[in-house]
């Protein structure tokens, strides 16, 4: 039984049509014509409890709009959405009780007050029992390293600190579902790792269902088993990361450093680059295993070093988007 169901979700935004020419601004103000943009165009998926799903796409693909419909902020133009049996936009407050939301670009914390005040407010709003609050707070403080800035006003926190504070506030009531909308945007490596570790731990230890939108594919490779790829408001791919790579980037590369530079000719492998004795061979693991291929190379050449390059998700995804726009 899926915890999140989205079916043919559509969201259209309407804005008045700009009238060009003389007094355009005034005429725009009076015009009755609208341009309609479809930010989300028939998106559908089911997510089971305990899944950690990466929802990705380039800027303007409709990621955030989908998340805003899942969280009940936006009312879909058409289509159906249900989270734990609740229609989020129709029953916002009930929905809010069992979800946590973090927006990377926007804080849910109280800007002018110390972080701890926001955490206490969250505890009150979600009716977290004092004993639970103490326990969760101690745990989150430990995992996210909050102790050094708990009493600092939020406006004085660094982006990474603020983000960690936001995560803690969103998780204090132990929601079943956590939505993360670009949580690592603009963060340094340390803060990013900390947040990833925290999310992975929540998912593993508490079984929290996580939906993560991002265009940082490192986040996805580090955290997600399943990804949903969208562009122009439509789902391009929905499945696991390995299958996506196998389908869209079946080739791997063997990089060989030769003791004596020269041409390399091996069956089932195509040389794609060669510089100063460093030769890159592309091969299809379905036709020849890497062990076999290495054996063949070593039988014919004196080799000082070799390595196998896996396709990275980034290149796979860039390839898919490029194919689509072409």
């Amino acid at each position: 039984m899926p915890i999140i169901r989205a079916d043919s979700l559509v969201k259209e935004f309407r804005r008045p049509k700009r009238v060009p020419g003389r007094f355009g601004a005034v005429r725009t103000l009076l015009t009755r014509q609208y341009t309609v943009t479809r930010a989300v165009d028939g998106v559908g998926f089911d997510i089971d409890a305990g899944e950690l799903v990466g929802y990705l796409g380039p800027n303007g693909a409709g990621k955030s709009t989908t998340i805003k419909m899942l969280t009940g902020i936006l009312v879909p133009t058409s289509g159906a959405v249900e989270v734990s049996g609740v229609v989020p936009w129709r029953d916002r407050e009930r929905n809010a009780r069992h979800i946590g939301v973090v927006f990377g670009q926007r804080s849910g914390l109280w800007w002018d007050l110390p972080l701890i005040d926001s955490l206490h407010l969250a505890a009150t709003l979600y009716d977290v029992r004092p004993a639970d609050l103490r326990a969760h707070l101690a745990r989150f403080t430990d995992l996210l390293g909050l102790d050094e800035f708990l009493t600092t006003p939020v406006r004085q926190l660094s982006l990474g600190q603020r983000m960690r504070g936001d995560l803690a506030a969103a998780m204090l009531h132990r929601p079943d579902v956590l939505y993360l909308d670009e949580p690592t945007i603009g963060l340094d490596v340390v803060a990013r790792d900390r947040i990833r570790a925290f999310v992975a731990d929540l998912n593993r230890a508490a079984g929290t269902t996580v939906v993560l939108t991002t265009h940082d594919l490192d986040d996805v490779e580090a955290l997600c088993r399943r990804i949903i790829l969208i562009d122009h408001g439509r789902v391009l791919y929905d499945g696991d990361v390995a299958t996506l790579k196998a389908r869209h980037a079946p080739h791997r590369e063997l990089v060989v450093h030769l003791a004596e530079p020269g041409p390399v000719e091996i069956a089932d492998a195509e040389p794609v680059a060669a510089t100063d004795g460093r030769v890159t061979l592309r091969f299809d693991p379905a036709r020849v295993s890497s062990a076999d291929l290495i054996g063949r190379v070593l039988a014919r050449h004196r080799v000082t070093d070799l390595s196998i390059v896996e396709p990275d998700l980034e290149r796979v995804v860039a390839g898919i988007y490029a194919d689509r726009t072409a």
Partner: protein, 262 residues
């Protein structure tokens, strides 16, 4: 209730985090009271009363109207436009408390944080203006009741107007006009009894007079017991009607939510 109180307390803390700003406001308020007193003294000149209104009554009226106006913080008026324009409304909508309730709780929090300053200002205001005391102990009680109702009216009004932001996005211009009209018709600048007939009728059928004029007139005994009860009844009526209107507007605004800025 606990949750609304917590929200109000947060907003009060925000206000108190900027104490200096409020002290500045307080000085501005006292200056305003002082200048109004000077002006009305000059207007009255040698006369003890104009149109049957003694000077002390007039001074009490303008002083109370100023202090009340400050207490009801009309310059912030509503927190909705800012939240919509900056897209923070998205965050409000994923809290387990209704959006309108959050806005109202926040406004009450602001006023609660301001109230001690207003109370502290009152003796100085009395001193500066030479205003009249309440007409009777009963009038004083009636004033407090009516003041609370006036606050309810202005709060619900601000919600209704604030929600317009969901349609217009930018509300600054409309707002300035609205505030001018509302302030005038509430009797904050000139008491209703000095307004010419037609204007007075207009003011009387609109909700704004229930904010400033009604409590102040009760304080001064300008309304006798029967009229005072009727006037507070009218205030209750406005609270009810406006609350229903706010509910209707919100149920429509809900479908128009757009979160600006990604």
């Amino acid at each position: 209730m606990r949750r609304y109180l917590a929200l109000a307390r947060m907003q009060a803390r925000v206000v108190l985090a900027y104490r200096i700003d409020y002290l500045n406001g307080l000085i501005g308020l006292l200056l305003q009271v002082f200048l109004l007193a000077v002006v009305w003294r000059t207007v009255y000149g040698e006369r003890d009363s104009v149109d049957g209104v003694p000077l002390a009554t007039m001074l009490a009226y303008v002083t109370l109207a100023s202090v009340q106006g400050w207490l009801f913080n009309p310059w912030v008026f509503t927190l909705i436009p800012d939240r919509v324009r900056e897209g923070r409304v998205g965050i409000d909508l994923v809290r387990p408390v209704g959006f309108v309730s959050q806005v109202v709780a926040a406004q009450v929090g602001r006023t609660a944080a301001t109230a001690p300053f207003a109370l502290a200002a009152l003796p100085f205001a009395v001193l500066l203006s030479g205003m009249a005391p309440p007409a009777s102990p009963l009038a004083a009680v009636g004033y407090l009741v009516s003041l609370a109702l006036g606050y309810a009216v202005t709060t619900v009004l601000s919600v209704v107007f604030g929600l317009m932001t969901f349609w217009t996005m930018e509300i600054g211009g409309i707002f300035i006009i609205y505030r001018m009209v509302a302030q005038f018709l509430s009797g904050a600048l000139i008491p209703l009894w000095f307004m010419p007939g037609a204007l007075r009728t207009v003011a009387q059928v609109l909700p704004f007079q229930a904010v400033t004029y009604t409590p102040t007139a009760i304080y001064l005994g300008r309304l006798d017991a029967g009229a005072a009860v009727l006037a507070t009844g009218v205030q209750c009526g406005w609270v009810l009607v406006l609350a229903l209107l706010a509910r209707l507007v919100w149920s429509r605004a809900l479908h128009r939510v757009v979160v600006q800025g990604g």
